[in-house]
Symmetry: C2
Subunit: 255 residues, 2 copies
């Protein structure tokens, strides 16, 4: 039997999703909880292996196990054994042939940052800090260039070994609002899939363009050179928001 989980975590104190010896990882905590809660040694696959410090509001996982526990109850079984910075929000029996990675159609990530000369204690956990204030319309204009099917080779950290770097970006939205005394910007990117560090590189480039740098996106598409683009933004501002499948997986029932 295959089960699917909708999970959320505060990535601050995790060394990323993927299990590693002697590190506190999301997968490691989930597999430990599965053993303690269900008595099964299951490999828990995630739809995206988020990096150290990256958060998730709607990560999707699957695992195979034989159990009599009703699928809906599995959520509570896990949560009894998980730390408070990691929670299963929903658990279901997975549809026939479901694979949380291969069945994914669209993924949405959100990158959040605030503009301030001083680090702000109430924002620092989930937002990166940027000195100076980027121009929203310049960011939006550059964001348009990213939409569509492109070879995103230049938008990828070194060391990645994917077959193809062609991806489709469905939309890039940039919004800003005032939170207390700070201006907070959100870059929301929806795509068919993302290369390693791709959203953090997109965020870095859009911020740099907003701060007056000439856009390097067009040149990056042509040349495939990482050097055309600005620096990768830090992990703390990134949230995996949701993963969409052919059919809505978890229903609309409230969490």
């Amino acid at each position: 039997m295959r089960f699917a989980l909708l999970i959320s975590y505060d990535g601050t104190d995790f060394s990323g999703f993927q299990i590693q010896p002697d590190c506190r990882t999301v997968q490691g905590e989930l597999e430990r909880a599965a053993e303690e809660a269900l008595g099964v040694r299951a490999k828990i696959c995630g739809s995206g292996r988020t990096d150290a410090g990256v958060h998730a509001r709607g990560q999707v996982c699957h695992f195979d196990a034989e159990t009599n526990i009703p699928a809906k109850k599995i959520k509570d079984c896990f949560n009894r054994f998980l730390p408070p910075d990691l929670r299963v929000l929903k658990s279901i029996r997975a549809p026939e042939g479901f694979d949380c990675t291969r069945s994914a159609k669209r993924k949405t990530y959100c990158y959040t940052f605030y503009c301030s000369e001083t680090e702000q204690p109430l924002l620092r956990r989930f937002c990166a800090r940027v000195s100076g204030k980027p121009d929203l319309s310049a960011m939006r204009e550059a964001a348009r260039l990213l939409e569509g099917e492109h070879d995103f080779k230049a938008f990828c950290a070194a060391g990645s070994s994917v077959k193809t770097s062609v991806r489709t970006v469905y939309s890039v939205r940039v919004d800003s609002e005032t939170v207390g005394t700070a201006e907070v910007f959100r870059i929301s990117v929806c795509g068919s899939g993302f290369l390693y560090n791709m959203v953090r590189i997109i965020a870095g480039e859009l911020i740099a363009v907003g701060c007056g740098k000439r856009e390097g996106i067009t040149a990056a598409f042509t040349s495939g050179r990482r050097g055309c683009l600005a620096k990768t933004m830090p992990a703390c501002g990134l949230v995996m928001e949701n993963i969409e499948y052919e059919v809505p997986l978890f229903g609309t029932e409230e969490i």
Copy 2:
């Protein structure tokens, strides 16, 4: 010379504002930093002594010290010696006769909570969790009753020894928005001053009324009995937003 500081802190890991032996407090950290950064042993007064776990976006402090360091630079001196969950956002030379507590004209606190059956890792640090979903218009209707000058004796935790419990509440705003899969509510209360736990008791009563409880505010004003009102909400949802003085203290310059 008297200086005024605008400070912000994530209250999670503090045992409140007020200094206590063997506890990590905001005042304790500030006084330690003053000694290390400025070489002065100063008592640092806060405009409100927030409880353990309560956050601040715009707390105001003052202290007296003889120093040649320009007032604007004092901020950076402090920040070099403060932990990242506590920051001085602005520092100025205080106006003649200024006292951060006695000179305060209006204070604004914000109480935030989310509605979910499951604790959400990305919300739990700065929002309380509520099961069920309160009715926004019922909360707003009850909020109206609080506005004006009243004896808030019933809205005060036991053990407080204030001269008078008459306070003026200028406004109570209630808003909600969807954050990811959760509904997040914000109760923003602006008043002349607040009794011990007053905002957390107001939040508890408004939430209970929103969930179908008959309002106890009218009876609480008449009888002064704490028992007319619902339970005090937890500290994590409370943020001291800002303190207003006769004249805007810190200017409008960005932080």
